[in-house]
Assembly symmetry: C2
Homo-oligomer: 338 residues x 2
DNA sequence: CTGTTAGCGCTTTCAG
DNA sequence: CTGAAAGCGCTAACAG
């Protein structure tokens, strides 16, 4: 049903109906009620495409992320979608699967005006970020979260990755580890570099030389990751502690330890970034750093709507670092970072 | 930039450009190339709202699910999005958070023609399914997956829940359990009822009377679930095996066992539906039944596109039960269902 | 093979 | 306070 047909049912004009549905102040209370009542009864909704075309606004945002089968990202989407639903916006989801080419294609596509704003976490392969700048030049607001980059001047949300890395490593050293390794999910990603800097800071504080052979630079290729971590662990007495910058690498390590008959946590203590629910009950030997994924999603979405609804310079280049939680050992200890 | 402005750059008409971009056969190769080259160079894309309005088609589907911070649903979305991307479709995501009211609001909203099809998993609270029928009456194709219902005549995808329940329970009995309990995530959900029927079948086969006091009917309220499961477990010697129909209930049980100092799997063996990555390495005592979530997503999306692109009766009321990759797994055993 | 034209359904002046 | 009419940008029918 079109707005014209609907209007005819009440013997008024389409313009009047449109004004009521858009809550214009120039309509009498009586007409308003008549329209709203019938709209409710018939579940009448104006055609969103016609409306978007005319207004040049879509009430839609895009979420561009590397993967979704991931406890961090799925919780972040949960937060994003909650804010979007509150604001009456719709959320389109796009997965890059860590591919630069896909990310580029998606972002270029988004320049067609299908969405009013973009929330993005950059893929592991991405080192050239100019496609995001192209969005900004088209006046499309964008907020980066978790996988941010330094090159783009826009709002960004991360956890305090340096401090988290520092605390994780310190925890391992305090637990008696002498040789603490580091599993990097990427050599270039900003978040991972910060986590590594925190790791190095904790070592430095205790006058421990950084041993590059204890640092495994992983990638998106799990086969290679497996063999690199395997190589590290099969050298007896090589490492007694491991700080993992990503959940999937920690899980991979559990698998390797199982095959090599390495006892966790007796022979090897692990602290990992992870958003697995109740990790400490399921696997009491896994200590986790939990990022506030849901809150980060909400925060990122809130900032995006701010800049969709207000002029751009309100938010430009804000950098927010959120506090994360370090859960250690079956929830008897819980160290808050910061 | 509009298609008219773009056409002027090449001194041709907007219609011609439109035909090229929609791959019409009535355009010369030369013109085609000129248009495509410039479009590539300028990243020109026609306004999607104008196009959708004119065509009355959106190249967009909706995914309506209870929650996303969930290993099953996030993997399913992964599969859905993959097929959608291949088909050049966009995916809108809507979360009901298990609320009937929210589901109703979302589905009613979708009747405005914003999407060309709907993929849905019904919420736990939903017992009246007529809103889905309203969609079908508006000629909007819909495919239900995992949380399906019997009341709607449309395509549905589930796992073989009866057989999975049977195998899980049989596995516990074969492992020497005498008193096997069942954690139901819902009393009414079709999938859960089937899992329970499988559970009862396995008991019956071994001439074991069903003991209702070993069946915990859980809900979406985790506080109540906690106390009900706690009550069951704190009675010593009450149960020595537990089949959980949902991952979150199993994790809750791990927490309770930790507090009650119940040794898993010595005192209590657990088999649970779960899509946690490498559950058996992380927590070797947890045996899982893994649903082929990714494949179910792909299958559901494929069926949806079939019915979007072809007349409706092609797919009406097909019921697919997926069997591949459904197995009880712990580190040592992997039992394939069917 | 290419161009002209009408109109998708809505919102927004502007006139009354 | 209400309505008439223009036009958002595109595509499809039709003419040439």
């Amino acid at each position: 049903m079109t707005i014209k047909e609907f209007a005819k049912l009440l013997n008024i004009s389409a313009a009047t109906v449109s004004k009521v549905l858009n809550d214009s102040h120039e309509i009498s209370a009586v007409t308003k009620k008549r329209v709203l009542d019938l709209a409710e009864e018939l579940n009448f909704q104006p055609n969103p495409n016609a409306s978007s075309l005319r207004r040049n606004k879509n009430k839609t945002i895009a979420i561009v992320i590397p993967e979704i089968a991931n406890n961090f990202f799925s919780k972040a989407i949960d937060g994003i979608e909650m804010i979007a639903q509150q604001k009456g916006y719709h959320s389109l989801i796009y997965l890059t699967h860590e591919s630069f080419t896909k990310e580029l294609g998606i972002v270029k596509h988004l320049m067609n005006g299908r969405v009013d704003g973009v929330l993005a976490s950059v893929s592991l392969e991405t080192t050239d970020f100019s496609h995001f700048n192209d969005l900004l030049e088209k006046n499309l607001p964008i907020v980066l979260f978790d996988r941010v980059c330094e090159e783009i001047q826009t709002a960004k949300i991360t956890t305090d990755d340096f401090h988290a890395g520092y605390m994780a490593t310190k925890h391992l050293l305090d637990s008696g580890c002498k040789k603490v390794g580091f599993l990097a999910f990427s050599e270039v990603a900003y978040a991972c570099r910060k986590r590594k800097e925190g790791y190095m800071e904790a070592l430095k504080e205790q006058n421990i030389e950084v041993d590059d052979s204890l640092i495994v630079n992983c990638s998106n290729d799990m086969i290679t990751n497996f063999s690199m971590i395997n190589n590290l662990l099969k050298k007896k007495k090589k490492v007694d502690g491991l700080f993992s910058s990503a959940e999937n690498l920690a899980i991979l390590t559990y698998q390797i330890c199982s095959e090599l008959a390495i006892n966790i946590p007796k022979d090897l203590k692990i602290v990992s970034f992870s958003n697995m629910p109740m990790a400490s009950y399921l696997s009491p030997s896994l200590s986790t750093i939990t990022q506030p994924a849901f809150e980060m999603g909400k925060e990122a979405a809130t900032m995006l709507f701010l800049s969709i609804e207000k002029p751009r310079n309100n938010y430009k280049d804000v950098f927010t670092e959120m506090k994360s939680n370090l859960f250690v050992r079956n929830s008897t200890k819980r160290l808050f970072l910061k």
